[in-house]
Subunit: 278 residues, 2 copies
């Protein structure tokens, strides 16, 4: 991996890297914020998965998370949302399919399967890469995300018990097999086999017996995508049915934007800090 | 004035407005963050002047200031950096002249003078407008800004004693009559009369006997514009010569970006809060 940018922030360093991904078969870019503590010791990491249309740039610019990471002493790992490059399949006129819309799954259908392997990228390749090159405590990590990235955080935590210490999400797509965004992407990337779809759906994973670690979800009541796309009530219903612990906070008047994320990111980072310290 | 957007953040509201400006003779857009306290009482205001190429959007998205404003209970007023619209003179191929580069002065030269009256807009028109329509304590305000906006904050504070309770700046253009950005804009907007230029130059104003209220300036040592464009040493030298109080903090390793602003905006807001409370 090659460092291509480094900006000082809150006493630490906001770095950007690129590397040739063996999962996605293309050059990938990501950012890592290293808190001041990382200058002298290895630190835990919080992975942040971003939403539709985003790159690593949105969260590092808009969420205000670096301040809390500097205070709490852990790194923020901010990957891209899909494979990139001219060789990668795409539907340029759609914001919710193709580049910027990887949905954190391993595609099985041509022409997507060659590059859209974001699940393996996030859960295996990227951690191995950065733990080998950056001052991170190997294996000590948590995961969070926004919208499509909230979906990604939840499915990673559910499917990979023991890999993450804690999970949280802002405005996550909780039941993609029942939502237009999810239906379009899952049918395109995964084909017609709905059993396979369910392997990447937080609500269906809970129904199938997967147990999340304690999870924190924040959802704005004024979110324009709440009713049709996000469906947190389905996820909560599955958790209640399975007797698993979940905290959903419906936040009055907040929308789907990073202004909502910024308002509560401090509480999410404190939540993860408690899990990463134990 | 007409409210065109409202987003909940940190329990308050990040609003955007547009109005027909009598100073600039065009439609102007600005943002105001109203903290939770503004729901029940009038609050003080901090005006934030942005830098070259910016609109009201950069600071509201990138600085992380709303969190502190919500805690401290004051409003953030975020105006645009120039007049706007098809009728407004511009040099589209230049980022440092014309739209986005108003330099917070009143232009005297055609075709600029018709619309580029940002000094009056910031100091007179905008406060009168928003104090009449929003829950702000009339006249209780401070001012800050970044780069060209840091220049703007300093000259407003110097030229308008009593109008602002405190002033701060990030990476300000401290001596524009001696810097390429300033020379180009001042000669274009103000013509050849260098006496007039000095009326909009913080260093020259101090030399001429204007006294700033205690001012806080943060400047990154790794700022790519420091040596040629910003010249804080000239401002400090003038202050020393005139025996006026100034605090310049050279911050090791920080660049010119909003990541630098975000790192210290909390300290600036606390600084202004002390002045606004007394």
């Amino acid at each position: 991996m090659k460092q291509i940018e480094s900006v000082k922030e809150f006493g630490g360093w906001l770095n950007r890297y690129e590397h040739e991904s063996t999962s996605c078969h293309c050059k990938m870019t990501f950012s890592v914020y290293l808190p001041p503590q990382a200058a002298t010791e290895k630190v835990p990491a919080l992975y942040w998965l971003s939403g539709l249309t985003c790159t690593d740039d949105n969260v590092r610019t808009k969420a205000g998370a670096q301040r809390y990471a500097a205070e709490l002493g852990f790194a923020l790992v901010m990957p891209d949302t899909s494979p990139r490059g001219d060789a990668v399949a795409d539907i340029p006129e759609r914001y919710d399919l193709g580049k910027g819309a990887g949905f954190y799954l391993n595609a099985t259908q041509a022409p997507w399967a060659q590059h859209y392997q974001m699940y393996d990228y996030i859960n295996v390749e990227l951690p191995e890469l950065i733990e080998a090159h950056l001052p991170l405590v190997p294996g000590l990590k948590s995961i969070s995300g926004h919208s499509m990235g909230g979906h990604g955080a939840l499915i990673c935590a559910l499917k990979e018990p023991g890999r993450y210490r804690s999970v949280s999400a802002f405005s996550p797509i909780c039941h993609p097999v029942k939502a237009p965004w999810g239906e379009v992407c899952f049918s395109t990337y995964l084909g017609d086999d709905k059993n396979l779809w369910q392997q990447y759906d937080a609500t269906e994973l809970v129904k199938a017996g997967h147990k999340p670690m304690p999870a924190l979800i924040d959802q704005g009541t004024a979110d324009e995508f709440l009713a049709e796309q996000l469906l947190p009530q389905d996820f909560v219903a599955a958790c209640v049915q399975q007797g698993v612990s979940i905290q959903l906070r419906m936040q009055d008047g907040y929308d789907h934007s990073y202004h909502f994320v910024a308002s509560f990111i401090g509480e999410h980072l404190a939540y993860h800090a408690r899990a990463l310290r134990t």
